[in-house]
Each structure stands twice: as C-alpha cells, then as structure tokens.
C-alpha cells in the first residue's frame, strides 16, 4: 500500500502546520524552565483540565489508536472491555483512594513513594524495571510510527525515525514535562477530531448502527453476552479470566501504579485537582471506544458487505489488522481531511513516545541518579542530568526501534515483560497503602516472587505457539494468548500478594509515625470543600461508575 501519489500539497501543509505548533509550544515554554522541578515535575502548577486531558492522552499512543481499531475489526464490541472494565474502574480507584497518598506524600515519582513507604531496594527494583520498560516502549512506538510513515507516505525508515524522534526530543528538551503535557492535550483533540469524522462517514456507509449489527456476527456486537465460555466469543476469553485478569490485576496494575500516567495527576496544582485528574479523564475515556474501536468494526462490516473494501493483507496473505484504521482513512478521507487523519495518527505515536521519555527522565534523575550516583548535588546539576536523560532516553528509543526492525517478536516480548512487572506491583501498592503491617522486605521479595511467578507460568503453559519454554510438554494449553496473559497476571498478583503478607509477618514494620501520609489508616482523608459537592472525588466517581454500568448494559 503506497499513498504517496494520493497525498496532495494540502495534506503535507497540514502535517507541516502540526509540526510547527508542536515545536512552537516547546519554544514558548522554554523560558518557564528554571529548575529541575520545572523541567521534571512542571512545578506542580498545571490546571485540572490540562492534567486530565494529558492523563488520557499519555495512554492514547500507538497501541490505543491503531491497536484498538485492529481489535475492533478482529473481536468487535468485546474490545470495549479494555475501557469499560479494564480502565474506568481502575481510574476511579486511583482518583478516590490512591492519589491522596501519591500527592499527599509529596513523592516526585511512583518509585519514590515506594522508597518513602518501604525502603531503598524496593524503590531501586521498581525504578530500574520502569526505566527500562519506558525507553523500550518508546522505541517500539517509534518503530511503529516509522513503519506507518514508510507504508503510507513512502518516507524512508531512517528518515521517519530521525524526524519523529528529533521533533519529540526538541519539544521535550525545551519545555520539559510541561511541553510534553501541553502537546499531549493538543494531540488528544487532534486524535478525536481527526478520527471522529471517519466514524460518522463509515457508519453512514454501512447503514448506521442497525446496519452494522446486521452485517456483523452477533458475537461482535455484544460485550458480555457471549462471555460465559471462552469458545463462544471471538476473543476466546471467558468472563472470569477477563474480569480478574484484565478488570482487576492488569488494569489496576497499569492505571494505578504506572508512573507514565500517574505522573500527569501528580503535577496538578493541589490535592483536589490531583484526585479529580483521573476522574475527569475517565469521562472521555468512556466514549473513546466509539472513536477507536468502532472504525475497526465498520471496516470488518464493509469487507463483509462486498462494497469493494477489503481488509489489508500482509505479505504472507494473512489479514493485517494493524493497518485497518489507515486503510479506512485512505478509503473515506478526501484531500485535506486525509492530512488531518494522518497527522492524528502521527500525534498518537508522538504523544506515546513523549510520555515515556518524560517519565523516564524523572525516574532516572530522581530515583536512580540522585538516589544512587550523586545524592547531594545542586539543582542546576539535576536539571542538566534531566536534560541529558531526555537525550539518552530518545537515543535508546531509536536503538530499540532498529532492534524491533530486526527482531519481529520484540513487541510480543516487551508486552510480556510489562505483564511480568506491572501485575505484581499492584499487589505491593494495595498492601502498602492499606495495610500498615506491610514491610520493606515483604514488598521487595513479593515483587521479585510475583515477577518470577509470572515468568514461570509463561514457561509452563502455552497458547497460540507462545510460552512453554520451561518444560517439554506444557501443563496447560490456553484457548488464546490473551487468556494466557490474563492468567499470568492473576498468578503474578496472587504470588506477590501472598509472599508479601508472609514475609511481612516475620519482619519488622516501620513505626506508625513514619507511615503518616503513606498508609490509609494513618492518614486524614482530604476534604474537597472548595468545589461543589457533585465535583468532589467520591460523588464524581459514583456518577462515572453509574455511566459505565449503563454502557455495559446497553451493549451487553
């Protein structure tokens, strides 16, 4: 598929204008960066509406926009579980219960909270694994963007990588985290406004929602109806594994402990805004399936209807679901809007990459460099280190992008590692925040055991040819790789939870006075009296919870 000839100068003009604005934001924010706190923490002065949009946009990267459209074409409406079950409840929990500890403790990062609550080794373990994950993830995002630009615009792989990485580096280096956050907000609106017309015109072409339902198998238009057995739905996952694995362990593990997203709430002006950041972000998140999943379903229906649209194919003849969204853009968008659509795709990749890089430079500077290498240096020194970490992070990302080009399975491998690391971490936080008896030794060994438990489960089970590397005959064959991932997460969380409790009983906890502001039972709950009652965290979360239940019911 080569689009070069279909793009006119108007489309290139739109792409160019976007680049000018993105860089302009960085240039204008440069003068606001005076110290390391401004560069790495935005001086904790960002307004609520910006932190909320950035919170959702930091996650609106390549996997979300391209991947969810691909899943929509492959699995249908069941993919919305990644939002209504696998994101919203965790975002509400983060806002209502966890933000008071993250923000109230004045920790500058998630690993630093672990240091304050537990000890140095627990912080070190989390900081190292998180730093490695973020730069690799950023590299994979870069690789996917370069591949997309090469396929759609005919740009060379090297040029695409250098251009995208260069732009992200310039605006992040100039304005620090504020620049990344401001750009994420711009990117959020661009993604929504750039892709929403596709849903409108696509739905119109298949005869609206009723027409879509008629052309798709029933299993693709419901969320829960066919979940009683794994074999009854296209995702091959049953209700129990999706509820426990995705709805509890993986989603809470990601949304409540991943510094990439939590950082956006931690830079809010005050506690009330910090708590409401994930809650406000949850509102557009509820509606995102209609922007990112529905196009995939429309593509599948169009391919079924024989209206001359075919799902894109890979070289080996299999369906290339990842190209579903770009192929729909080509099909429906005229000159001008095509430029907007392609710019929206670029924005999604760049926002994902910038999010990873800014999280990496904070964790590197505060939790690794300041903690282990040079603890008592001047603030100017840490500002320099933060900027160097930004450059280094982007250089490693470029390296990872080339690695991803050479090894086809590096993306699967990274996805697997995320599951190994994030799933047990939620058990550590849950115990650390809500059980004051939890000790540093318990947390550390719980994390290590959980990660090992995840690796072992992957090694002794198999699904779609993946796993089973530890023994010759796997002890269990999963119906799908997704079901396997969910159960690996459940095992990792359970092992971490049990081991942490057991070791905590045999080791000495910190005294109560050291845990104030860090543990639920020893911390006064913040009261948001300055805002109307319906805008306070608990009523807001309840309202959103009801809304998400309504959506689950409507698409049951």
């Amino acid at each position: 598929m080569n689009l070069t000839s279909n793009l006119s100068w108007i489309d290139y003009l739109i792409i160019g204008i976007y680049f000018v604005f993105v860089l302009g934001i960085g240039i204008f924010l440069k003068k606001k960066v005076k110290n390391s706190n401004d560069f790495l923490m935005s001086g904790r002065s960002i307004p609520l509406w910006i932190t909320s949009m950035a919170f959702i946009s930091a996650n609106l990267g390549a996997q979300e926009v391209i991947g969810m459209a691909a899943s929509g074409a492959k699995y249908g409406m069941i993919t919305s579980h990644f939002y209504w079950l696998g994101a919203i409840p965790a975002m509400l929990f983060l806002g209502v219960f966890m933000m008071p500890f993250y923000y109230g403790s004045r920790a500058r990062s998630v690993p630093e909270y672990l240091f304050l609550r537990f000890d140095e080794k627990t912080r070190g373990f989390n900081a190292l694994s998180f730093a490695a994950m973020t730069v690799f993830s950023s590299g994979v995002s870069l690789y996917a963007l370069a591949l997309l630009l090469k396929t759609l615009l005919g740009w060379s792989f090297d040029f695409s990588i250098l251009l995208s990485a260069g732009i992200v580096m310039i605006y992040t280096l100039l304005g620090g985290l504020t620049s990344a956050i401001y750009n994420e907000v711009l990117q959020f609106f661009l993604i929504v406004l750039g892709i929403a017309p596709l849903v409108f015109v696509g739905l119109h072409s298949v005869g609206g929602w009723e027409g879509l339902q008629q052309q798709l198998p029933a299993t693709m238009t419901h969320t829960w109806k066919y979940m009683s057995e794994a074999s009854a739905n296209p995702m091959n996952v049953d209700a129990l594994s999706i509820t426990l694995g995705l709805g509890f362990v993986l989603s809470f593990g990601y949304w409540c402990t991943d510094f990439l997203v939590v950082q956006r709430a931690m830079v809010a002006k005050n506690m009330s805004d910090a708590q409401r950041t994930p809650l406000i972000a949850a509102i557009p998140k509820i509606f995102l399936p209609f922007v990112v999943i529905l196009p995939g379903m429309i593509a599948f229906a169009l391919a079924q209807s024989g209206k001359g649209f075919h799902l894109p194919l890979k070289v080996d003849g299999r369906v290339d679901y990842d190209m579903t969204l770009p192929s729909l853009l080509i099909r429906f968008y005229p000159t001008g809007l095509l430029g907007v659509g392609l710019t929206a795709l670029m924005a999604s990749f760049m926002s994902g990459m910038a999010g990873n890089v800014t999280a990496f430079n904070s964790v590197w500077t505060y939790d690794l460099y300041q903690a282990y290498l040079k603890p008592h240096a001047s603030d100017t020194h840490y500002l320099k280190v933060g900027k160097l970490a930004t450059i280094t992070g982007i250089l490693i990302s470029i390296l990872t992008a080339y690695l991803a080009k050479s090894f086809n399975n590096i993306m699967d491998f990274l996805q697997l590692v995320f599951g190994f690391v994030n799933a047990p971490l939620f058990a550590t936080f849950l115990l650390g925040m809500f059980w004051k008896r939890t000790t540093g030794h318990g947390a550390f060994w719980g994390l290590v055991s959980g990660t090992l438990g995840a690796a072992m489960t992957h090694g002794i089970t198999r699904a779609e040819g993946k796993g089973g590397w530890l023994i010759h005959t796997p002890i269990h064959q999963f119906t799908s790789a997704m079901a396997q991932a969910f159960w690996i997460a459940i095992v990792a969380w359970s092992v971490c939870f049990i081991v942490t409790i057991m070791i905590s009983f045999f080791t000495h906890p910190k005294p109560d006075q050291e845990l104030r502001g860090l543990v639920y039972s020893l911390t006064d709950q913040p009261k948001s009296t300055e805002v109307a009652w319906y805008l306070r965290p608990a009523p807001l979360a309840l309202g959103i919870c009801l809304l998400v239940i309504v959506f689950n019911y409507l698409f049951f």
């Binding site: 739109i14 609106f189 661009l190 000159t335 907007v340």
Partner: protein, 65 residues
C-alpha cells in the same frame, strides 16, 4: 496581551484548529467535498469556543491585576 494569549494552551489549541478549519472549509467549498466542509465547520466552532474561553480568561486576569 498577545504574549499572555500565546502562553494559554486554549488559545494555541483554538488557533491550531482555526487554521485547520480554514483549510478544510476552503477545500470543502472549492473541491466540493461535503466531508471536508462539515469537519471544517465543526473544527471552526470548536476553535471559536476555545479562543473565546481563552480571551475571556485573559480579560478577567487583566481586570484583576
């Protein structure tokens, strides 16, 4: 006033989508593409709302100071 406006993200977003709206609306009119025209008009409305909110905030803060 302009420096303050440019530093306000709502103004920047409004300006960006205003430019996109102009391009899309013009291509919609001259190339007779309804989708460009409709999207351009929607983006234009969004842009006006963002610019209006931004200007209102700037005027408020100027009055305060």
């Amino acid at each position: 006033m302009w420096t303050r406006c440019i530093e306000d993200l709502r103004f920047v977003i409004g300006l960006f989508f205003g430019i996109l709206a102009c391009i899309l609306t013009s291509t919609g009119i001259f190339h007779k593409t309804d989708l460009n025209l409709m999207t351009g008009l929607c983006m234009g409305c969004f842009s006006i709302v963002m610019l209006f909110i931004s200007m209102r905030e700037q005027i408020k803060s100027l009055e305060k100071s």
